[in-house]
């Protein structure tokens, strides 16, 4: 740590506090409105109520959206993590020409707006006879979370001492067996963290899902149509639930990544 003047440090701390407060402020407001009995989202606060949460849990469309989102996000996270694991392993351990190009290629969806991924998939797959569907949403979202999964796992696999794997080969293990019994257990926390974080990203993803469906709904699509077509105070309750759920998963994933750091 470099010594900074005490005034400087206070000023920076105030700036950090102000920015952070600004980021959390609207979420706090949303939480307040979610238990406010007023039909309209205007101040002042009326009475405490849980009626909006009750409405969310009784609404069939929210339930259908939730089930679709959980199913797709689970499939996306497992698929992306498995593909990313082998990709990351080869990027770290194998030698082949054009490795940098392959790395940049696999990370490319990071640097492309989601709307381009969405419109490209829709135009192309409709042109070859597919209808917009949740299956396409699945494919598009695997693409979306793959760079994140590859980066996470690549950084972790690079930290595993090569000697452990070499010992397994020397004892007669096949390449695949060494990967499954030495490499995979060595980065199990990072793998689980990657499963969780890719699930979270897919669960909350809206743009790709919106482009690749006509009538099916995921939870973010249901939230979006509620937002733009009408006015439903229950939207605050669903917002608080989704925000809390995603934050909780993010915290668990982060804790797992940190745990890996301590074992280094």
């Amino acid at each position: 740590m470099v010594r900074t003047t005490i005034h400087g440090r206070v000023a920076f701390a105030l700036l950090f506090g102000a920015v952070t407060a600004t980021i959390y402020l609207p979420i706090a407001v949303m939480a307040v409105f979610s238990v406010n009995s007023g039909r309209f989202q205007v101040m002042p606060f009326r009475e405490f109520t849980l009626v909006w949460f009750g409405r969310v849990f009784r609404d069939d469309q929210y339930f259908t959206g939730l089930m679709n989102s959980v199913a797709i996000a689970t499939a996306v996270s497992v698929t992306a993590t498995v593909i990313a694991f082998f990709c990351a392993y080869s990027l770290v351990n194998a030698r082949f020409p054009g490795k940098t190009a392959v790395t940049l290629f696999v990370l490319a969806p990071f640097a492309v707006p989601l709307i381009l991924i969405g419109i490209g998939l829709r135009l192309y797959f409709v042109s070859i006879g597919f209808e917009p569907s949740l299956g396409l949403v699945y494919a598009g979202q695997v693409l979306y979370v793959l760079p994140l999964a590859v980066l996470n796992l690549r950084n972790r696999i690079a930290q595993i001492p090569k000697s452990h794997e070499e010992a397994a080969w020397a004892l007669g293990a096949s390449r695949m067996r060494a990967i499954l019994e030495i490499v995979l257990p060595s980065c199990r926390f990072a793998v689980v963290a990657t499963l969780i974080i890719t699930f979270t990203f897919a669960f909350d993803e809206f743009v790709i899902a919106y482009f690749l469906t006509n009538f099916s709904i995921t939870l973010p699509i249901k939230i979006w149509t509620t937002l733009v077509t009408g006015f439903d105070p229950a939207i605050n309750a669903i917002g608080v639930l989704v925000f809390g759920f995603s934050m909780a998963l993010g915290i668990v994933a982060q804790a797992l990544f940190m745990r890996k750091d301590q074992r280094k």
Binding site: I23, F105, L123, S127, E166, V228, V242, L249
Partner: protein, 293 residues
């Protein structure tokens, strides 16, 4: 774990030849990218050179795009909105990254960084919506100002481009702070000590040492922020409103509204060109910094 040397004494292990090199672990990812990324985007760009009514290749969609003020205005608005978000966010991100790197104990750094970025793991849509509650004319800020002034007040802020820029700037602050910090934290502190020992001020240390060395981190954060913002759909719709649409909004209304698919593809191709052009600075810094998450 038993050291390998102890077990295989006497018979030195023969390392597998590079023939068993597992390069093909990349294949699933590369095939996925080829089928679901390169092909669709290539198809879309090809489609932009066709016309809905007649066969053959044509530039008519591009002519229609660039001769229509509504379209070119939307393009300009997208670029302006994303640029403004990047510039304003950078002004906040540099001091924040400096704060996290040099004014915070290493043990507390990760916690603060976590507090800053955690909300951005959650739904973009819900965060954008929650700002409506604060910024609208019947929102929290208008209410508080109204109470202070003693009369109702109309902010007129929500559903303007400024509101879009505001929402995107918060996202940019998070991302750019993160990328600057991850480079800044690797700068050797002895360089700053040397600067101080030689009589340099803290400001000189920042301008002459930290700024140039952390610049690649800024470039990565700025480019990614620009790309994500220039193609964003949710924030311009929820905070910016629809009266002055950005490119992404026109693209979606063309796709789902008019079914003029080649025209929608043209919007996508124009956006793709903007994205590729804005990614060029990455090539300049790629050699200086390992791509990191």
């Amino acid at each position: 774990m038993v050291g390998p040397g102890a077990v295989i004494q006497g018979s030195p292990p023969r390392r597998r030849s590079p023939v068993t090199n597992l390069w093909y672990g990349i294949l699933p990812a590369v095939i996925l990218m080829a089928v679901f990324f390169v092909t669709p985007i290539g198809y879309t760009i090809g489609l932009s050179f066709t016309h809905a009514d007649h066969a053959g290749l044509t530039l008519s969609n591009y002519a229609a795009f660039f001769s229509n003020d509504r379209f070119t205005d939307a393009l300009a608005r997208s670029i302006l909105m994303a640029s403004a978000a990047v510039i304003i966010a950078s002004g906040f991100a540099y001091p924040l990254a400096w704060f996290l790197t040099y004014a915070v104990r290493p043990g507390r750094r990760l916690l603060l960084l976590f507090v800053l970025i955690a909300p951005f793991w959650t739904s973009f849509t819900i965060r954008a919506f929650s700002w409506q509650l604060v910024l609208s004319d019947s929102g929290v800020i208008a209410f508080i100002l109204g109470r202070i002034l003693g009369e109702p007040i109309a902010l007129g802020f929500l559903y303007t481009m400024s509101a879009s820029v505001f929402g995107l700037t918060l996202f940019g602050i998070m991302l750019i702070t993160l990328t600057i910090f991850s480079v800044m934290v690797t700068i050797d502190p002895r360089l700053l000590e040397a600067n101080r020992d030689l009589g340099g001020s803290e400001w000189q240390g920042f301008v002459e040492i930290v700024l140039p060395l952390s610049f690649p981190g800024w470039v990565i954060g700025a480019v990614l922020t620009f790309i994500i913002c220039v193609g964003d759909y949710a924030v311009p719709t929820l905070l910016g409103g629809g009266f002055k649409p950005v490119l992404a909004q026109l693209m979606l209304s063309t796709l789902k509204g008019t079914y003029d698919l080649p025209m929608a593809a043209t919007f996508a191709a124009v956006l793709m060109v903007v994205v590729l052009a804005s990614a060029l600075p990455l090539a300049l810094v790629r050699r200086q910094v390992r791509l990191q998450g």
